[in-house]
């Protein structure tokens, strides 16, 4: 299958919805196939790439930081960028500017950027296909 540009819109906040687990699985599958991927992270999803997320131990379960191995969405975003590049694709990950300002999450992992809903319009215009994953 020749490389295509696919756009995804995410809206769920980190650590709250199974939608994001499924979304990252779909994004990973697209990255492994070498497609170019656009992501518009809107509303709560604007926090997915927030750089100051930190993993934590779980004292209730008696696990230290390493044992808990707590995943962060910022690491998942970074891993997606690496996986796409490894397979000849690229990821343009846009964090909604108003959304990050509202939430105070305007420090992003490298390789992602600030933008606006106009970027989503441009993404869809330039993409072969688009999937919007809304909140419930």
């Amino acid at each position: 299958m020749p490389k295509k540009t696919l756009t995804f819109a995410l809206m769920d906040a980190p650590y709250e919805s199974a939608n994001l687990t499924t979304a990252f699985r779909i994004l990973d599958a697209a990255a492994r196939r070498g497609h170019d991927i656009n992501v518009f992270a809107y509303e709560g999803a604007a926090g997915l790439a927030f750089a100051r997320q930190a993993p934590h131990p779980n004292p209730v379960h008696g696990k230290n930081l390493a044992e808990e191995n707590h995943p962060t969405t910022k690491d998942q975003v970074a891993a997606l960028l690496v996986e796409a590049a490894k397979n000849g694709g690229k990821v343009d990950w846009v964090n909604c500017g108003m959304c990050v300002d509202e939430r105070g999450v305007n420090e992003f992992v490298a390789g992602t950027r600030r933008g606006s809903p106009a970027d989503f319009q441009a993404f869809t215009d330039a993409s072969y296909n688009t999937l919007v994953i809304p909140t419930k």
């Binding site: 499924t22 699985r25 599958a29 196939r33 296909n129 999937l131």
Partner: protein
């Protein structure tokens, strides 16, 4: 003829909206379109032989391809599927996007 991938993430035991989404799938296939319904997350709970699985079997008989995400099934310990429902990897979503099919999420 257009082809649609309808992704259902909700549990029909919890949300009556799921029934409307099944009706959308039926309506699209009756109108001459190709339709695949992919159950993900709690949407796969309907894939167990249960009070809600008859609706999925009926969709399959009407021409809708009914799939259930294998990861979501494993997470929920579901190994026996209702008639007309087949397990599929999440890569199926990318297959449809690559093919230019209209892909909707509920």
């Amino acid at each position: 003829m257009a082809h649609y991938l309808l992704i259902e993430s909700r549990d029909p035991f919890e949300s009556n909206d799921v029934g409307y989404y099944y009706e959308l799938a039926k309506g699209l296939v009756d109108a001459g379109n190709g339709v695949t319904l992919l159950l993900v997350q709690n949407g796969v709970l309907a894939a167990r032989p249960s009070a809600h699985s008859a609706a999925l079997s009926a969709l399959r008989r009407s021409g809708v391809e009914v799939l259930a995400d294998d990861f979501s099934l494993r997470e929920r310990g579901i190994s026996t599927l209702a008639d007309g429902v087949a397990a599929a990897p999440i890569d199926i979503v990318v297959d449809h996007l690559e093919a230019g099919h209209k892909t909707l999420w509920h």
